[in-house]
């Protein structure tokens, strides 16, 4: 064995104990540490040791396995040291109380634009179907049209089709996919989002005009009002987020297009994450209340306005039970 091999052997023998100890420290702990500060210090010492070992191994061993092993150990230790503290509930609270209200204000132009597109499309749908009733074939299925011709709403028999619980899950899943798609299609410079919001507005306007021509618009309104405020709000917000994505790509400002896209994705993703769970609430109302004839108009309106008000208060002002004010952006 030559001198360099002997030196390597000596080094390996001396250092392997430390690497094993560091590996053991990096393994997920079953119970919270009794001496977190002492452990953090040990980790820091181990990290410095691995940095030195890695530098040495790179110089002496090049790309040998020992270097690869030490690179992995370095990366794992680095990640453990620099990862944020795992306060899931605290961070979720911050998301609703601080981030979302701030971002909603920052993105208000895109949100207004989304609302405007939806309202215009809704009016266009109404006018078109009122003037040319045959156009309802573009927005509604033949089965829905047959029901209205027979003087019934297509939503009348929903509770005969499936129990409320399953109906709620199915409706929520569908709404979530529409919401996510409205947001995601914003990557096509906002054009995909415009299409999604526009088509949803056209369909709703067309459906109302068609129902009105048979005197069923009041019943359609009664069906929609309970869940529709939250549902449509979330879809319009998702549209606004999609338009914001599109704007970041069209007008990145002082940043590169990629930087603007990534930063906007992070911001819009936070709002989307906060808004989407409310669709579960809307789904529950749509499954249990909206198709149920036992609920009169007043409870439906109260439910719709109540859930809508709560939704907008949370999205614009944060959680009422949490202390601390956010800084207006």
């Amino acid at each position: 064995m030559d001198t360099s091999q002997q030196a390597l052997t000596h080094w390996l023998t001396a250092r392997k104990v430390h690497w094993d100890a560091l590996e053991a420290q990096l393994k997920p702990q079953q119970s919270p540490s009794e001496q977190p500060l002492a452990e953090a210090r040990e980790l820091l010492v181990g990290y410095r040791g691995v940095m030195n070992d890695l530098s040495l191994a790179r110089r002496l061993q090049g790309t040998a396995l020992i270097t690869r092993y030490l690179e992995n150990l370095f990366l794992k230790t680095h990640e453990e040291l620099y990862r944020p503290a795992p306060h899931f509930w605290g961070r979720l609270g911050d998301l609703y109380h601080i981030d979302v209200p701030l971002l909603m204000r920052r993105m208000q132009r895109a949100l207004y634009a989304s609302l405007a597109v939806f309202v215009v499309a809704l009016l266009v749908g109404w006018v078109l179907v009122s003037a040319y009733p045959e156009l309802i074939n573009l927005f509604a299925s033949p089965a829905m049209i047959r029901e209205v011709h027979a003087g019934r709403l297509w939503t009348d028999g929903l509770l005969n089709v499936a129990p409320s619980s399953l109906l709620s899950v199915g409706i929520a899943a569908n709404n979530i996919s529409v919401t996510l798609l409205s947001f995601g299609l914003g990557v096509f410079y906002g054009v995909g989002t415009l299409y999604m919001i526009g088509i949803n507005g056209l369909m709703l306007g067309g459906a109302f005009a068609f129902a009105a021509s048979y005197g069923l618009d009041g019943r359609l309104f009664a069906f929609i009002i309970g869940h529709g405020v939250v549902e449509l709000s979330v879809i319009i917000i998702a549209g606004g987020l999609g338009l914001q994505l599109g704007e970041a790509l069209i007008r990145p400002g002082t940043r590169s297009r990629l930087q603007a896209f990534q930063a906007t994705c992070t911001d819009t993703g936070k709002v989307l994450l906060a808004a989407t769970p409310f669709l579960l609430v809307a789904g529950i109302i749509e499954g249990f209340v909206s198709p149920n004839p036992l609920f009169g108009m007043m409870p439906r309106v109260l439910m719709g306005l109540g859930s809508g008000t709560l939704f907008w208060l949370v999205m614009l002002y944060g959680l009422p039970w949490r202390r601390g004010k956010f800084v207006r952006g």
């Binding site: 064995m1 091999q5 390597l8 052997t9 390996l12 023998t13 392997k16 690497w19 590996e23 940095m51 890695l54 530098s55 061993q61 040998a64 396995l65 020992i66 690869r68 092993y69 690179e71 992995n72 370095f74 990366l75 680095h78 990640e79 620099y82 990862r83 509770l159 005969n160 089709v161 499936a162 129990p163 399953l166 109906l167 899950v169 199915g170 899943a173 996919s177 996510l180 798609l181 947001f183 995601g184 299609l185 990557v187 096509f188 995909g192 990629l258 896209f261 990534q262 994705c265 992070t266 993703g269 936070k270 989307l272 994450l273």
Partner: protein, 253 residues
């Protein structure tokens, strides 16, 4: 606040990261092949999981139908929802749930030897994984992942739009099993082989199962010739004889 260092693409598609402690490290970026490999394995797993649920629950419900009279709901639709909804959830939540639980990996990614990391080479956050999976809908357009494939083919870091948005990269998982470190140490302590030859030997044994028989024999023969060792005697299973010859070079544990 100081911005974290951004990745730089070097030659051969590597994610080069400089840590705040001024120590550089590189991670090999997985390309279209490794990404597709992992995706196809995952596709099969989630399809089989969903199918198993559908078959099991359909069978259970048929049995219930025979035991009870029809309930008050339109039973066909309820049954379809009970069978299909969880199957859809299994199918569509597979990636986000497993990527969060398995620190940027899925069973398919693990088998393909790749994992997701952020621009620092760290495990991605839950938010980044969710964002990546929301944009899967766009990458999957028009139903055959064409958008995603084009994005992977033409982006510097071989990423799809979801990864681009969440600032994630798919890299090769270069973890070494604990056994390799043991063998490495024992070799260094008691073998006469040079450092490079020790690394070659361990690397070859580590990759043995993934190589075809012809390649195993060729590589093992070249290695034995390189270190001046005799070839193993002819055997009915020549690759096994070569493996034994290589394993003899490892010091006893």
């Amino acid at each position: 606040m100081q911005q974290p260092p951004k990745p730089q693409a070097g030659l051969f598609n590597r994610l080069e990261v400089q840590s705040p402690d001024a120590l550089d490290y590189q991670l090999d970026i997985a390309g279209l092949g490794a990404r597709s490999h992992a995706f196809i394995i995952d596709l099969h797993i989630r399809f089989l999981l969903a199918l198993t649920w559908v078959l099991l629950v359909s069978g259970g419900i048929s049995l219930l139908d025979q035991l009870h009279s029809l309930p008050r709901y339109g039973w066909m639709s309820s049954r379809q929802l009970i069978v299909l909804l969880p199957a859809f959830c299994l199918y569509f939540l597979y990636h986000p749930v497993l990527e969060v639980l398995m620190a940027g990996r899925t069973p398919g990614k693990r088998m393909a030897g790749v994992r997701l990391v952020n621009h620092l080479g760290h495990t991605p956050s839950i938010g980044a994984i969710l964002l990546r999976n929301v944009l899967r809908m766009v990458d999957a357009l028009p139903g055959i992942y064409l958008v995603g494939l084009l994005a992977v083919a033409f982006t510097r870091d071989k990423v799809r739009i979801g990864d681009l948005a969440a600032d994630l990269v798919l890299v090769y998982d270069n973890r070494l099993p604990a056994k390799t470190l043991e063998q490495m140490t024992r070799l260094a302590l008691s073998s006469d082989l040079s450092g490079d030859d020790q690394a070659l030997l361990l690397d070859l044994l580590k990759r043995w199962d993934g190589l075809s028989v012809e390649v195993r024999i060729r590589f093992a023969g070249q290695f034995l010739a390189r270190i001046g060792q005799p070839m193993p005697p002819p055997d009915a299973k020549p690759d096994l004889a070569f493996k034994k010859a290589l394993e003899k070079l490892l010091p006893p544990s």
